[in-house]
Amino acid sequence: MTSARAQWRPTGNGGPYSAESALGGHAPRLQRTGRSLPFSDERHLSAHHWLVEESYVLDAQHYDEWLDLLAEDIHYLMPVRVSTALGAGYDSAPGMAHFDENKYSLSRRVARFATEHAWTEDPPSRLRHYVTNVRTFATDDPGHIVVDSAVLLYRSRGDVREAAVISAGREDLLRRTPDGEGWLLARRTILVDDSVLRTQNLAIFL
């Protein structure tokens, strides 16, 4: 069945979100092409490796190190998901997101955590980013790949409250570093699976 619904959002974690954002004008527009690459493909293996390394950096809240993994023109976007009727043609709040960031605003967030007064993470949460369902696609530019992944964040604070769990799909656009050895994150869309978040805030990154 080919419906209008299938056209506005492809299977996977991509979609029109970055292109439709009022703050996404600077973002690279490259999209996935064809079927996902074989799991033995060098690009898939290195992308998967990159995601796993990143998740350890995020768990440890080594955010200065994380910023170095991001391209200067990054668009880091987490739409606000809404329940809409089947066939409505959209599933996020128009013109609104949780994160809609460029490198500057992400750098301010990281700088804040580096102060001694970011109370919400003092004491820090215990974080675990579980990353799975990774698949990789070529794009029209050999220097870029698109990677889908699923992420489950377990966030535990203190010794009284229940831990928070955030489930999301991500679509990343990775760009080869100039030396050709690694990747930089050039665009990330985070499709959180809750319309009402069950966590006190998003003082974390996904």
Partner: protein, 460 residues
């Protein structure tokens, strides 16, 4: 509550029994007596601009379809099928000419009228058995709007909204009427926090005292220059009608210079000077105060700040509107919208949105630290020791109830109500006194509606 009168007496003196922030019995009474009668904000007309547009919003556990009919009228329809009580709309937003119940297929027009009743003739004997023609989804007991803000009250005898808001409407215009077109609302971001709903409402109403401490980090990273302790206390808090808020003191200058200082472009300033009254303009231009956070009783809040959103010295103002929607004594759903003047230039709208995201809402760098405090407070208030503690909420008052500083005279503050410069808990006391007034009034009796019967209402 076994000792309610003594509790309310303490609250009125500014001594707050700590357990009111996490207490099943208090919460049950709030549901009945505060949210059972106060005007509660549910959305803005700009969220449903076209006929058929709807959003679904709750007041406590009651779900309402807030829709715009083909006649352009805005209604709030109780989201429960008249037949077996199924929700007729299970989306959060959309556009629909009709809502069809998935259970037995009854369908309603977007103005609430029951138009489809399968096998009406065969099953009910037609109109003789079930009077379909007069039936509609149950409307909210009362609905009213101000500057496009849509409020519901569960009390059919609620006073008109404008009367309820009272002189707070003067201040509401700063947030919601910067041009003849008013605001457009985006969002909301929604998330649940393990905190009591009153804490956020009190904080936004008047807590200038927390700003330099809780929000040290946002000054340190250069996001917002105003909350430095020495600067924050130069602002004033005001209370008028059914709401109150905080302000910052602006540097010397003309009205235009002061509005430019917080980041408004000249074309927006020009429209403000046209739509605001002389008194509204004087609060900024003559008296040098700019509104920041505010709350309307019981659970609606506003914020207006002007952070740096890029690596430059320019600042950009943003407005957020939110509700603290009670879920339980220790849990609140926050609905946080971004609001912007509908006539603002597109570039301003985009950067103001960015300013909002950086400061408030689910990811906001201010809000993150606020919620951490409120969750901790709520948790601690649930135990037995909290029942022994009366928190002192008397800042700004001496023992004989005289104020530490005199209220601002009208030559220094042209707005209505009562305003004080510096740190004080005047507004938190105002808010909780209104809460106490509601808590001691038993609820009225509600009318019951007989579906499809003789159409007459009966009193329970």
């Amino acid at each position: 509550m076994t000792d309610q009168s003594s509790l309310l007496e303490d609250v009125r003196r500014g001594m707050i029994p700590a357990h009111i922030y996490n207490d099943e019995e208090v919460f049950r009474l709030e549901s009945e007596r505060v949210f059972g009668r106060a005007w509660v904000f549910v959305g803005h007309e700009s969220e449903i601009p076209q006929p058929g547009d709807y959003v679904v919003r709750r007041v406590q556990e009651d779900s309402f379809i807030v829709s715009r009919g083909e006649d352009h009228r805005i209604r709030a329809l109780f989201n429960m099928c008249l037949h077996r009580g199924m929700q007729v709309c299970r989306a959060e937003m959309g556009n629909a000419s009709h809502f069809r119940c998935p259970y037995h297929g009854w369908s309603y027009r977007n103005d609430g009228r029951l138009v489809g009743l399968p096998f009406h003739k065969e099953a009910y004997g037609g109109e003789a058995g079930f009077r379909r023609k007069s039936q509609t989804l149950l409307p909210a007991p009362a609905l009213d709007t101000y500057n496009g803000l849509i409020f519901i009250s569960m009390d059919p005898d609620a006073p008109p909204l404008r009367e309820y808001l009272g002189d707070f409407a003067f201040y509401l215009d700063y947030y919601t009427k910067q041009s003849p077109s008013g605001i457009e609302l985006r969002g909301p971001q929604r998330w649940r926090i393990k905190a009591n709903w009153k804490i956020g409402a009190e904080n936004f109403a008047g807590d200038m005292y927390h700003t330099p401490q809780t929000h040290t980090s946002v000054v340190e990273i250069g996001l917002f220059r105003e909350p430095k302790a020495e600067k924050r206390k130069d602002g004033c808090t005001y209370w008028a009608g059914n709401g109150g808020g905080t302000t910052y003191k602006l540097p010397p200058g003309t009205l235009e210079e002061r509005l430019r200082y917080v980041g408004y472009p000249d074309e927006m300033i020009e429209r403000m000077t046209r739509v605001w009254t002389q008194e509204q303009l004087d609060v900024v231009g003559r008296d040098g105060f700019m509104v920041s956070a505010a709350s309307v009783f019981p659970n609606m809040s506003f914020v207006h700040n002007w952070p740096r959103v890029e690596d430059s010295d320019d600042v950009l103002p943003f407005i957020s509107i939110r509700t603290w929607q009670p879920v339980g004594p220790d849990e609140t759903e926050v609905l946080s919208w971004f609001a912007v003047d509908a006539e603002a230039p597109e570039e301003f709208k985009a950067l103001s949105y960015k300013a909002y995201l950086m400061c408030f809402g689910s990811t906001g760098m201010f809000e993150q630290d606020d919620v951490e405090n409120w969750v901790s407070l709520t948790n601690t208030a649930g135990g037995s020791m909290a029942r022994r503690l009366l928190l002192n909420s008397r800042m700004g008052l001496l023992e004989d109830d005289a104020t530490v500083v005199p209220p601002l005279p009208s030559e220094q503050f042209s707005g209505p109500g009562e305003a004080y410069v510096g740190y004080g808990e005047y507004n938190q006391r105002h808010l909780l006194r209104r809460w106490a007034d509601h808590m001691e009034r038993p609820p009225g009796t509600a009318e019951q509606i007989r579906v499809g019967g003789d159409g007459s209402a009966v009193t329970a």
